[in-house]
Symmetry: C2
Subunit: 202 residues, 2 copies
């Protein structure tokens, strides 16, 4: 893999941990833009793809290094795809990540009270810019299908993992071992596709 | 095809003519944003994909209609991929389209004087936003490989067509009949892929 050291266009430690583990076999060092003192990009919040591109471009221009950006969220059928691109701040911007996660999960449960369907999917779009002059950024995306549990369970992962029941499984995503989640998750699958694109290049 | 009427996020009459012809079998009406009085989007000019997304988002937000955007250009090997995303304004912003095209072609010939390789490809990225709230815009891209002729020939098409010799052909793109160009061009191929994506949707 030609990319030896990349900036992760995120300050989310949960994303960093997952991506570090996924890239470990390739000897790629992951540094977050927050660790480099770069502020986060404005997100247009229209689509995962536009957000991921904006984040990767911002980090790559600011650091002059290869940049990897992830935009992801959970889309719930009965809520017309909400919270979607607003997943991180579904219940407001106040507080730290753990607080926001707990509030987001509580709001999702409340919104789904009485809903006929609890079907949902996680979605992840990854963008790799191999440098600030990259005119052909690599894009990969994946979905992870499942449903929303009646109450949160588990302490692994982050975000909506305690409520997300992957299709065909009895455990929530937060009850899976990290390596198991990475193998089947939206982020793990998107990264596998991205690595395929990267290896397929001349 | 569910999209009956779309805004083309462009004021380029050459692009409009090609896309209209390509979409005619589906009964889709094409209106340009210029015809609707919408100004063109700022292009970040980093990559075809970011430009096309910015154009489609701008047109869709301004018109509240489905929007199709094309970003395209010619990438020349001996010039490290230039003019690339700068194809339209390679020789400056002054003058009308025909003047700019002629100046761009002249500059490209000058830059390539004495070059070992004249290999080049046209590239096109299309983005379809089915409305201002589309969180999953469709993206398709294609390349058209060929080389740069020693002098311009032909009056069809637009842009660098008089200089572009498609691989395996003796005619320039500007000497092809419109239907023939559309069948094999970067734009025609990208639109075929986009229609496949659209038909593959639930």
């Amino acid at each position: 893999m030609p990319v030896r050291s990349i900036v992760l266009a995120s300050g989310n430690p949960g994303k960093k941990a997952e991506i570090e583990q996924l890239l470990a076999p390739f000897g790629t060092r992951v540094v977050t833009q927050v660790e480099l003192g770069i502020t986060e990009a404005e997100e247009p919040h229209h689509s995962f793809l536009e957000n991921a591109l904006a984040k990767a471009r911002h980090a790559s221009l600011a650091t002059r290094l290869p940049a990897l950006a992830d935009d992801s969220g959970i889309c719930v059928d009965a809520l017309d795809g909400a919270p979607g691109v607003h997943s991180a701040y579904y219940a407001g911007r106040e507080g730290g990540r753990a607080e926001r996660d707990a509030r987001n999960n509580a709001r999702l449960l409340a919104e789904l009270a009485g809903a006929d369907s609890r079907a949902a999917h996680y979605e992840c779009v990854l963008v790799l810019m191999r440098g600030p002059g990259d005119v052909r950024p690599l894009v990969a995306s994946a979905q992870w299908r499942g449903s929303i549990a009646r109450e949160p369970r588990g302490t692994g992962g982050f975000g909506y993992d305690p409520l997300f029941l992957p299709e065909g499984m009895a455990q929530t995503a937060a009850e899976l071992a990290p390596a198991e989640k990475n193998r089947i998750s939206h982020r793990g699958q998107a990264l596998a596709k991205l690595l395929e694109l990267l290896h397929g290049e001349p």
